[in-house]
């Protein structure tokens, strides 16, 4: 996304993240992470339990926060992928890379272990998941091959072998977020798409907010926090299917 300009210029176009949808629990509770907040879907840092997991372009790191004032590196793993994002869910880390999704088990929190992957035949991908379903946004472009830009829905009941169940073509999808059975997908200047995903393998578009250039979202305490190019927008999502704009904070 947008936020990097560099020697790794191509990475500009890749966004990946994971996200979870739960049929059995209300909403999304990523972890038993007392004291943590909630990040967007386009992040390279995430905290699960007493560990800070981080990715730069080619490495996965784990830092112990046992002494929260002094993070201590306990793990480094080089990966032959251009990593874009990291997302924690339950005992897993989902890494979005240029070529697909990597799934790590953090059963042993200090030593993440690769247990599965889904590759998208060279595309720029973001990823999503829950204890049974993963939502992924892929942003295809010249640098990343021919994949169709859109929302990809995976069955991850067998976590090691994600199965593609549905694809919804979208223009340049970026960040996404889930509240109950409503999925919010940021599509840049094409707006914020609001999907009903009660039947996760057949997402139904409820509405599109076209008033801003949306990059990422965080559903948090009944408010949808939106990172748009021109500022932050806050929507009341007491009813997740009907976001009501309550505040706009210009850059």
């Amino acid at each position: 996304m947008s936020i990097k300009l560099s020697a790794f210029g191509a990475i500009l176009f890749i966004i990946s993240f994971t996200f979870f949808y739960s049929c059995t629990k209300e909403g999304v509770s990523a972890n038993n992470n007392a004291g943590t907040g909630k990040g967007g879907s386009l992040t390279r840092f995430t905290i699960a339990g007493d560990y800070l997991y981080a990715v730069d372009n080619h490495y996965l790191y784990a830092y112990s926060l046992t002494n929260p004032m002094k993070p201590a590196k306990v793990y480094t793993s080089p990966l032959n992928f251009d990593i874009e994002t990291i997302y924690p869910f339950d005992k897993y880390l989902f890494l979005g890379t240029r070529t697909g999704l990597l799934i790590y088990s953090i059963d042993t929190a200090s030593a993440p272990r690769l247990i599965g992957q889904a590759s998208h035949a060279r595309s720029c991908d973001p990823v999503v998941a829950n204890d049974s379903v993963a939502f992924v946004t892929l942003k295809g472009n010249g640098n990343c091959g021919p994949a169709v830009s859109g929302l990809y829905v995976y069955d991850i009941k067998t976590i090691g072998t994600p199965m593609l169940q549905e694809t919804v073509e979208l223009h340049e999808p970026v960040g996404l977020g889930l509240q109950d059975s409503v999925l919010y997908v940021c599509c840049g200047d094409a707006g914020l798409k609001v999907f009903n995903v009660k039947s996760p393998y057949s997402p139904k578009l409820i509405t599109t907010k076209k008033d801003a250039l949306y990059v990422d979202v965080i559903p948090y305490n009944g408010i949808l926090i939106c990172f748009a190019r021109a500022g932050i927008l806050l929507y009341d999502i007491a009813n997740p299917a009907i976001p009501i704009l309550v505040k706009e904070i210009a850059n």
């Binding site: 936020i3 020697a7 907040g37 840092f45 730069d56 929260p68 002094k70 993070p71 590196k73 926090i225």
Partner: protein
């Protein structure tokens, strides 16, 4: 005889030309309108500070929700603090200067971020007195490449940053001698 010498001279010259074909002499440097880096000494650039003044968000980046607050990275510059206690009145209330910043995560009283390749731990228990409590140097070497200010934002000519003991903290427009170009 004169003509023979002239002829030989011409041959010599032409052989020189041939020898040099493909070689372009360095062009004289020209002043053009472009971008010039603004440097800060590394020691100064590492200084973390907090102000309760609102700053405009120049290059909006990652967002993070934590209790009544929203944090938003201003890529390369720092972190905006937004009071979200009453969403309809939410607004930026302060700014944490962290040069080279891109990522953010929080647990308890501590905010973890990066300053270039370093991992920084900030104590945010008193939002008015955010301070650095530890720094792991070169924790994420590749995040250095993502630093957005290694180049100016706009395309065009710019001076390549070359001061090794300094970091670039911004770009200004000026009349510069050409050195680098961004497409």
């Amino acid at each position: 005889m004169k003509y023979i010498l002239l002829f030989m001279g011409t041959m010599l010259l032409s052989s020189c030309w041939k020898f040099n074909s493909g070689y372009l002499p360095p062009q004289p440097q020209q002043k053009v309108w472009g971008s010039k880096p603004v440097y800060a000494a590394k020691s100064a650039a590492e200084k973390i500070s907090y102000t309760d003044q609102k700053h405009p968000n120049i290059q909006p980046g990652n967002i993070y929700a934590f209790g009544k607050f929203i944090f938003q990275v201003d890529v390369g510059r720092g972190i905006h603090v937004i009071d979200n206690a009453v969403p309809s009145q939410a607004d930026r209330i302060g700014f944490i200067t962290v040069n080279g910043c891109e990522q953010i995560s929080i647990k308890g009283n501590y905010l973890y971020t990066n300053s270039f390749a370093d991992l920084i731990t900030l104590d945010i228990s008193n939002p008015a007195r955010v301070n650095e409590v530890s720094r792991v140097r070169n924790a994420f070497p590749e995040l250095m490449y993502n630093y957005p200010l290694v180049q100016p934002q706009e395309s065009g000519y710019y001076n390549c940053p070359q001061q090794l003991d300094s970091v670039v903290i911004g770009w200004v427009k000026d009349s510069i001698f050409t050195s680098c170009y961004k497409n």
